[in-house]
């Protein structure tokens, strides 16, 4: 599950996941029928609208051993909210399908550490980075220190501790628009903490949160870039995935 945000806005993250998993010997498929986990609808209160989207999800991913996603938030949505949506639909078939797919959904670091049993993925990234644990990966999934262990095993990488790391960045999906002022106030504090670390790169497991904090860091001309964890783990000597230009085709003008 590449996620709608990564598919439409951050394709480099999806490519990094493919590169990384293939390097680790995983047979990777991208079921082309996939769209979105339905979280934007669910978290804004549009449960009826979420029903067909969840149906599309379970149809697209039926039959796979593991559904891996570079997003703690989307994994949380699939594992914790799809059942609620299915119950709301009153369709027992959908509930049964959700019960099949939900437990097979893994956030990327869970899949790497728990299923593949690797911590050193053979990556090389000679930069100072700081890591923001996103709320849903931390508190909904409980990924714990898996992302940190994976990052600390990356050769050349220097980890800078982020103050108040576990505090929300303020993205919150449609919260970022419906309560934009509060969202920005939270993001400004997160950006300040990031700058205090002296890191070049802010890394996290959710591009939606990074789009928010990264947007503020960019507007501040802070000189700090944001990168998805998968792009760092996919980078090897000579091949820095995802950098420096996100839009490869026709980009770089």
């Amino acid at each position: 599950m590449v996620t709608c945000v990564n598919d439409a806005m951050f394709p480099e993250t999806g490519k990094a996941v493919v590169t990384l998993l293939r390097r680790l010997g995983v047979d990777v498929e991208f079921p082309e029928a996939q769209t979105c986990c339905a979280q934007p609808m669910v978290n804004t209160g549009y449960l009826d609208e979420a029903v067909p989207v969840v149906r599309t999800f379970v149809d697209a991913f039926a039959g796979y051993d593991a559904i891996v996603t570079p997003s703690g938030s989307c994994a949380g949505s699939a594992r914790h909210q799809h059942g609620i949506v299915a119950r709301r639909s009153g369709d027992a078939g959908l509930s049964a399908a959700v019960a099949e797919t939900s437990p097979k959904v893994y956030e990327l670091t869970e899949f790497l550490v728990d299923v593949l049993g690797v911590v050193d993925v053979g990556a090389y990234f000679p930069h100072r980075v700081t890591y923001h644990p996103t709320c849903h990966s931390l508190r909904m999934l409980g990924v714990g220190d898996r992302p940190r262990r994976l990052l600390e095993a990356v050769r050349g990488l220097r980890m800078m501790d982020l103050p108040s790391a576990e505090e929300c960045c303020g993205f919150g999906g449609t919260f970022a628009l419906k309560n934009a002022d509060t969202s920005i106030a939270m993001g400004a504090d997160k950006a300040r903490h990031v700058r205090e670390t002296g890191a070049e790169v802010l890394v996290a497991g959710d591009n939606s949160c990074l789009m928010h904090v990264g947007g503020i860091l960019s507007r501040q001309r802070s000189g700090v870039r944001v990168m998805h964890l998968a792009e760092i783990l996919a980078s090897t000597e000579g091949v820095v995935v995802g950098a420096p230009v996100g839009d490869v085709v026709g980009g770089g003008r």
Partner: protein, 492 residues
């Protein structure tokens, strides 16, 4: 003297004003940070904290599951102990009962223990309308009352004030309502507390009627429990001749033994203390000792409405500790007034809509006043899954508008997005369109993000809320989906 929350604007509007209050921002960041750290330290000392949370949740859940039975037992025991029990469906009934009792004794003033439920029903306003002054005796409530202010926190209602502001309020206001603050009052906490103590002492000794809430009401023994830190509660509960306690029906606990986990969870979660300083319990009237006329007003005021909500009813487990407020990143920045209720923060964002129902613009804005970060659920001593209830209440707000003749722009957008996400071919077409838009943006704006990626310009409409303070990457020319088709799936 105290203000009112009536007429408050929806959360986003109120929050915008609060975010610009520099003193508020500073006071709150400092105060919530201190309490958060204290709580974290004392919770970490308890090996079986998670088991305690489970036990606390189970006790409250048991009480709620068979609420009517426990309430009837509570009434029987209270009456057997010499108390008079009153039932109130709403604020107006409860206020009329309390005002009637106070009037019956011909008093012009009452002293009050800090109580959320009497704030909820604006009892002070009802008493004032009847010519009866209600003196708040909790230090922070006194600060709020003297300042003509509104509470902004459940536990620390004057959390938005710092000591310099408190000193100014005492010097300016105390003289008009009793003993004046000393002219040489400093802003040292001990000096401020001493001024409050002297001011309150004459009120404690004079008052004939005391008013309280209750943290717990034990059905088995007919016992009310008040938990406080300053001793003012003990004064109000023991010195007056008449004691009136207004108690929400969700405060009932079936047995005495079940107080155990709750009394261990509450102080660590709320004040960051290992044990509560003043825990007062009374079961009706004790002849010759304490108030000789004891009234208990059992109040619904929307609690049964909340109980009827299968997802939301867990909110009635709340023991008003405030841990969710102190840890909430939204509350820390906006403060409590922005929530427009005596119950602010994450718990207020669910309790108010659950108790009042949807349909009011301000109340309906509350379930959206959260980034759903989940920190509140993590600290809740009775395991209320606040994010789950927030999302559930958002769906109730949306459902209430499904019959609207003119759907909102948001509803139309969500339907459009859902339609696109129902079929991958539609999403693929939308991505190709956004890729074209991205090319145009790169030509028009030529802005780059750190790291070199092209940025969008300032967006119009709802997108302006994003780009007013945040850059946004321009859509890539090629989506992941298109890349996968072109090269990804072959590249093994």
């Amino acid at each position: 003297m105290t203000g009112t929350f009536i007429g408050m604007p929806p959360f986003p509007t109120a929050a915008r004003a609060a975010l610009g209050d520099t003193q508020l921002r500073h006071n709150l960041a400092h105060a919530t940070g201190v309490i958060r750290a204290k709580r974290a330290a004392v919770v970490a000392e308890v090996d079986n904290w998670e088991e305690l949370r489970l036990a606390g949740a189970a006790v409250k859940e048991r009480a709620l599951t068979d609420l009517a039975t426990h309430l009837e037992e509570l009434e029987r025991r209270l009456v057997a102990g010499g108390a008079t029990v009153h039932w109130a469906r709403d604020a107006a009934e409860a206020n009329a009962i309390v005002v009637g009792i106070a009037r019956g004794h011909g008093v012009e003033e009452v002293v009050k223990v800090k109580s959320m439920v009497t704030q909820e029903i604006d009892l002070n306003g009802a008493l004032a309308a009847a010519g009866i002054a209600a003196w708040e005796t909790d230090l922070a409530e006194l600060i709020v009352q003297l300042g003509g202010d509104l509470p902004s926190h459940i536990l620390v209602p004057a959390i938005h004030r710092n000591r310099a502001e408190v000193r100014e309020i005492f010097l300016r206001e105390m003289a008009a309502v009793g003993r004046a603050a000393p002219a040489d009052l400093t802003d040292e906490p001990a000096a401020l507390a001493a001024a409050a103590r002297a001011h309150l002492r004459e009120k404690f000794l004079r008052a004939k009627v005391g008013i309280s809430g209750a943290n717990f009401a034990v059905a088995e023994t007919g016992t009310l429990v008040v938990v406080e830190s300053e001793g003012n509660g003990r004064m109000c509960l023991t010195l007056p001749e008449v004691l009136i306690s207004v108690v929400g029906i969700e405060k009932v606990v079936p047995t005495w033994a079940e107080l155990d986990p709750l009394l261990r969870l509450l102080p660590r979660s709320s004040t960051g203390e290992r044990m509560n300083p003043y825990t007062s319990t009374w079961s009706g009237v004790t002849p010759g000792d304490g108030p000789q006329e004891v009234h208990v007003v059992l109040l619904d005021n929307g609690r049964t409405r909340a109980l009827a909500d299968s997802v939301g009813r867990q909110a009635l487990r709340c023991i008003r500790c405030s841990a969710c407020l102190n840890v909430c990143p939204v509350y820390e920045r906006t403060g409590g007034h922005a929530y427009g209720s005596v119950y602010p923060g994450p718990i207020g964002a669910i309790l108010n809509p659950l108790m009042q129902g949807t349909g009011d613009e301000q109340v309906d804005s509350l379930p959206y006043a959260s980034s759903l970060c989940g920190a509140c659920f993590e600290v809740c001593p009775v395991r209320i899954d606040i994010p789950e209830v927030l999302v559930h209440l958002r769906s109730k707000v949306v459902d209430a508008h499904r019959g609207d003749t003119v759907p909102s722009a948001e509803a139309l957008a969500m339907k459009g997005v859902a339609w696109t996400f129902t079929d991958a071919r539609r999403l693929g077409r939308a991505e190709r369109a956004s890729g074209v838009a991205g090319r145009v943006m790169r030509r028009m704006f030529a802005v780059t993000l750190p790291g070199g990626r092209a940025a969008s310009g300032r967006l119009p409409g709802p997108g302006a809320g994003w780009t007013s303070a945040r850059d946004l990457p321009a859509p890539p020319a090629e989506s992941f989906r298109a890349w996968w088709r072109r090269v990804g799936k072959e590249e093994r």
